[in-house]
């Protein structure tokens, strides 16, 4: 699914069990639907609003999450 980031935050202080830093964002798809996503770790240094990318689904601790990764 193609999306664009409309807002993001890189979290440095987190609940126990999270490895910091990690990123969360609001991404908007082509239909205007918003998704709350986690950001792929290797994308943390390239974040900017409007960044285009794709969403994929991954399991983290048996919970399925949507992850954003920028277009290469």
């Amino acid at each position: 699914m193609q999306v664009k980031l409309i807002a993001y935050s890189v979290i440095e202080v987190a609940p126990p069990g999270y490895q910091t830093p990690y990123g969360v964002a609001i991404a908007e798809d082509e239909n205007g639907a918003r998704h709350l996503v986690r950001i792929k770790q290797d994308n943390l240094n390239m974040l900017k609003t409007g960044l285009s990318g794709e969403i994929s689904r991954e399991k983290v601790d048996n919970v399925e999450l949507e992850f954003f990764h920028a277009k290469k």
Partner: protein, 385 residues
């Protein structure tokens, strides 16, 4: 025959905020006894038939049935007592409920007590508790409260041209104000640069944008016959509650606090006043940018222009509409269950002319904006003489 009741505040008690040695039962006992003994004309416990406790998380307190625990200190087993939780808006909501119960005839006099004990927990554990104030999706994705406010703050800067300096100004102002508040957790001033260089918590939210982890207890005594207990009651002129979606990502305009707008519209309407008649306000700056969002939602500024009030110094303690003269949540502290009631106490004292060095001159109306999470629930109160 139907009789209109105007609920008044007749007494209060307020602990210092910060790291306190007392446990939850002791804080409750002090708050309850303090408020009862503060009633100018005296009040017997048996005349208090409702006791509502605002307390957010039992992991903080390690105590269930906290309303019933509080009843022990009221010494009136005939009273009805219970706890209420709406995240950071708990204090405001407890007050709203007590007011409604008095107006409906379900109670005559109500003690509203707020208490929270947080400082014994680590920052990480506290963060894991506070994230529960967000939407289920935010919890699932690990979007902490600072991160959710971070979304709002980033979008607001992009949309309206506000800067990190503007967010820092709110923190700087409130730390300056707290210097005059003996109950405040912090008595230390910061510069804009210090705020902007403080540790990043969840971009763009930094440590010195965040209200602290605090202990504290507050109480107000509400009455449907306030003149019976004091010659100088402060009346709840208007009150409203409002709701928005739980998640920031779900909101049509994540930069605007719709719930607060809905709540303040109701409060102004029932008080029969306009926003321009408010002379002092306490708003919920759990994270500094939220103070700016609140200015717009309660009608002190147009959409997208709230940050200009700070730039122009108009909400400073000596400005035309002082906001958070108490130091706000940022510097006074934020013992969550106690906070909303503590904010009401600040405006109560301002209206009585008893706010000491913080006193704003000639106050006829004051407003309190107390919201939960990132603003999914909001309670707005207009107080007057």
């Amino acid at each position: 025959m139907w009789k209109t009741i105007t609920v008044g505040i007749v007494a209060y008690s307020h602990s210092k905020y910060g790291r306190l040695a007392e446990d939850i039962p002791t804080l409750l006992e002090s708050a309850i006894e303090g408020a009862i003994s503060n009633a100018e004309g005296g009040i017997d416990s048996t005349d208090i038939d409702l006791l509502i406790v605002s307390n957010v998380d039992n992991q903080f307190s390690n105590q269930h049935q906290i309303g019933t625990v509080a009843l022990r200190y009221l010494h009136n087993p005939q009273a009805e007592a219970f706890r209420i939780e709406v995240a950071c808006a708990s204090g405001g909501m407890a007050t709203y409920l007590a007011k409604q119960m008095i107006e409906s005839g379900s109670a005559r006099n109500a003690l509203v007590v707020g208490v929270e004990k947080m400082t014994h927990l680590s920052t990480g554990v506290t963060t894991s508790i506070l994230i529960r104030g967000g939407a289920p999706e935010e919890i699932k994705y690990g979007a902490t409260q600072p991160a959710a406010y971070g979304f709002m703050s980033q979008l607001y800067m992009q949309k309206y041209g506000a800067t990190e300096d503007d967010y820092a100004l709110a923190a700087v102002k409130n730390h300056k104000n707290a210097m005059k508040n003996p109950w405040a957790q912090f008595h230390k001033e910061f510069t804009v640069e210090a705020v902007k260089n403080s540790t990043m918590i969840a971009s763009p939210i930094r440590l010195l944008h965040c209200s602290p982890i605090s202990d504290g207890a507050t109480a107000i005594l509400l009455s449907g016959e306030p003149k019976k207990y004091t010659d100088t009651p402060v009346y709840i002129k208007g009150m409203g509650i409002g709701y928005d979606t739980m998640g920031v990502f779900e909101r049509e305009d994540p930069t605007f606090m719709l719930a607060t707008k809905i709540a303040s519209d109701k409060a102004y309407k029932s008080a029969k006043i306009e926003p321009k008649q408010v002379q002092v306000a306490e708003v919920h700056d759990a994270f500094s940018p939220a103070e700016i969002f609140a200015y717009e939602a309660i009608g002190l500024a147009k959409k997208g222009e709230g940050y200009k009030l700070l730039r122009e110094g108009r909400t400073m303690a000596d400005g035309e509409i002082p906001v958070n003269v108490s130091g706000g949540l940022k510097a006074k502290g934020h013992p969550i269950g106690a906070t909303g009631i503590g904010m009401i106490i600040e405006i109560y004292l301002q209206l009585l002319g008893q706010a000491g060095e913080r006193q704003v001159r000639g106050v006829e109306y004051g407003l309190v904006e107390n919201h939960g999470g990132t603003g999914a629930t909001s309670v707005v109160t207009v107080l007057g003489r």
